[in-house]
Symmetry: C2
């Protein structure tokens, strides 16, 4: 997971239509749906749906296989987990235990710590 891919994935889900499509295919995992079914269920013109399916597929969020004249789309769930790992990989300067306690993230960064330095001398890139 690099920055370019992460941005592409977020762009892919940054549309109401594409978010609907992806969630519909998550619901219908692992069998997936063919394009026409998606168009019917979401009441979308075929050209518009095709535009969004292309974006989702190119970002890796969907996979597609041909079945005769149909195109069957499936959601790629693991990529979402990789995305989260990418976002939180260097959480808290490599000390994620400050943020996450096991499976729960409820302890992370939602507290307001006292101000430590008004003028930072060294940053944390």
């Amino acid at each position: 997971m690099d920055k370019q891919l992460a941005t592409t994935i977020f762009e892919s889900l940054a549309s109401g239509v594409r978010l609907d499509v992806f969630r519909l295919l998550v619901k219908n995992a692992p069998s997936g749906l063919v394009a026409g079914e998606i168009a019917t269920l979401l009441a979308l013109p075929p050209t518009n749906l095709s535009f969004h399916l292309k974006a989702l597929t190119q970002s890796g969020l969907l996979s597609v296989v041909q079945e005769g004249r149909y195109q069957r789309y499936r959601a790629n769930l693991p990529i979402m987990q990789e995305l989260i790992a990418y976002l939180t990989a260097e959480c808290c300067t490599g000390h994620p235990e400050q943020c996450f306690d096991g499976d729960s993230a409820s302890g992370c960064c939602d507290t307001e710590p006292s101000i430590q330095s008004t003028q930072a001398d060294s940053y944390n890139l």
Copy 2:
């Protein structure tokens, strides 16, 4: 977490600049950084950074507190966890055990199951 919020969050991260800002603040959690530090580190004009910080804050990904003449920004990590839960809540028609085995998602939907029905009679909205 509703659709509108989810879309807004994805839109917020669907920009290279905003993704850089958010990850920088994840790294620098929980102390956060003030706007000028972010601008310096990412080499962004103040107006442009302000534009993106506003988007990130309005979506809830960042919190901001005033410190004198400074504005300190912090990443809101838990919202990301809520977002993932939203995306996978109805995974596999309410049978996520088909997809996720405990903490790992590696088993989910990355296999290509044999085609079950070419023409679906009932959908799964």
